[in-house]
């Protein structure tokens, strides 16, 4: 993992339009954004403002229309399909709002899935890693359950286990608590918080203030543009406290 503080993600004038049957829907406009390694960033904004679209682009899941995106100073536009697949396999992972687990497949197999495509993790290590990831989200006793035999909160925790099993640098989480009750939501956020403490860069979409308060930095998006980019209140308090102490 690269040292904390260096630039991990650098977007310049990033634009995205969807095209459906020749109809253009512009969604993101001139997004300028830099995120450093080790940061915990929350993205907030009203529904339909383009948060998911931005996450998908930054998470290597979708194309952008114009502008540039540098990942570790490498221009993403110059990467070919296999380069992108390798980054998805090793350096980033994604927690979807809609879980996106493989249907009719066990928790264990869902968590093992990214390891099948990982170029360096040995086959003999997979089972240990998967069980460890499942333990991290507290689902050890559910490892053999099929994905459709789980509650929403459990499904989301499986998705988190799947995201952290390869120990990627960056974890993107798109409203991971959006479909959950407050108890499950709190459990999921604790898991995310732990990941951050272990040095992973976390980029999280949420529209709940309390969830965003876990982050060090909050980016507000409205109508496809960044409106505000601030250190979080708690974080500011902590900083100010430490300055005062000096």
């Amino acid at each position: 993992m690269s040292s904390k503080g260096s630039s991990l993600i650098e977007a310049k004038k990033l634009c995205k339009s969807y095209f459906n049957e020749g109809l253009e829907t512009p969604v993101l406009f001139d997004i300028d954004l830099t995120i450093n390694s080790g940061e915990f960033v929350a993205i907030m904004g009203p529904s339909g403002s383009g948060k998911s679209t931005l996450m998908h682009i930054l998470g290597f899941l979708d194309h952008f229309t114009s502008g540039s995106y540098l990942f570790h100073d490498e221009p993403v536009l110059r990467m070919n399909d296999d380069d992108l697949a390798k980054i998805r396999a090793t350096r980033v992972s994604f927690v979807f709002q809609a879980f996106n687990l493989l249907p009719r497949t066990s928790v264990l197999e869902n968590v093992l899935l990214p390891l099948l495509y990982h170029p360096t993790i040995a086959a003999s290590e997979r089972m240990d890693r998967a069980m460890k990831a499942i333990a991290t989200v507290g689902l050890t006793d559910r490892a053999k359950y099929l994905s459709n035999q789980l509650s929403g909160g459990q499904k989301q925790r499986v998705a988190i286990a799947r995201a952290l099993v390869t120990e990627p640098e960056v974890i993107f989480a798109d409203e991971p608590t959006g479909n959950l009750d407050s108890v499950s939501g709190r459990q999921v956020m604790e898991a995310v918080q732990q990941l951050h403490e272990h040095g992973h860069t976390i980029i999280l979409v949420t529209h709940e203030r309390t969830t965003a308060e876990h982050a060090e930095r909050i980016i507000h998006i409205r109508d496809g543009r960044i409106q505000e980019d601030t250190k979080s209140f708690k974080r500011r308090l902590a900083k100010e406290a430490s300055t005062l102490a000096k």
Partner: protein
Amino acid sequence: MLPEDLIGVSVQGLKRNISRSLLTTLGIIIGVGSVVLMVSIGASFQQYILDQVSQFGQNTFEIQAKGLEQQGQPTQAITFGDVEAVRKLSTVQSVAPVIFVTERVAYGEEELTPFVFATTKELFDNWGFQPQLGRLFTDADIQSASNVAVLGGLAVDELFPNEDPIGKRITIGARKFTVVGVLEELGSPLAQTLDSSVYMPLSVGKSMMGSSLYVDYISLKSRGSNDLTKADLESLFRQRHSIVNPENDPEKDDVVVRSMEQAVSVISSVTLGMTIFLGLIAGISLLVGGIGIMNIMLVSVSERTKEIGLRKAVGAKKQDILLQFLLEAITLTVIGGLIGVLCGAGLAYLLYLIARQFLQDLPFALSMSAILLSVSMAAGTGLAFGIYPARKAANLSPMEALRWE
């Protein structure tokens, strides 16, 4: 991705979509199985009929007056002079003239109206008859015009259901005949008429039919090439009957010269037609199976497209996806094709065992080309509709695939 992982992923994919897998396999089994079955039935009968016909000997010829051939009426086109001329041809051997005696045959209470052949001993040789009891005609029987009769293997059962026929006196028309021999059955359905017939010396038949100067039929064997023999016979009859026919128009001839070989090729073209017809019917079920496969594959495209999106999202390369789907499709089509061939062949064999109760010499035939053709058509459909959507999905970005409806 490791090869063993690829296999694991494909097996998992087939299991997770178990009903899709089973239905696809079933489609292939039905399509392939019915083609193999139908074509096997056709090919077995074709082989059977060819075997039966060729039993008579490929170098056997028959010459018939056209009237008899076409209207079932005895005619007077072939004279004894013609027979002697035929006998002198160097391309001909074993000539047996035949007069059909249209009389009843009776023994005690039993009465039959079989074909009664008045002929010479060469006829038995030409048709491959062996005596089962007693003896065949001798030249002496013919010269002395003795009233002796030889019975076909089926005719004897009707006239003498529980008696030894040898030495018994039967009535043909107004004359009494002594039964001197019984023929071994030829057994084939094609030879049923010959097995049911009664045979007497040519000289006797000639006098019974009013000292006829004509014969109805000649059986002979060619010596050497069938084509030469046929040409010789045709030109002989044209010359003797003063028919000018340099263009070889069969319409103009008054006799029909036909070799068994020719009959075989006519019959085999008929049975080939039957096989093709059965194959076409089976082809329809292959098509239906194919449409089934197509539907099942296409119905599951949206779920599988999402799966592809997810796999790509967690790091699968395009090649990983394509290989997985290729392997899944190959597994289904190979399993389906194998079971289909086995089922089709097994069912064909079962039918063959049943049919053999009625046709003893029926062979069992499978058509390799039908197997290859049907398996490759089914496999082609399975592969095309298994891989094409996967290929399309693998070219999408992960999100485009995950959003698929």
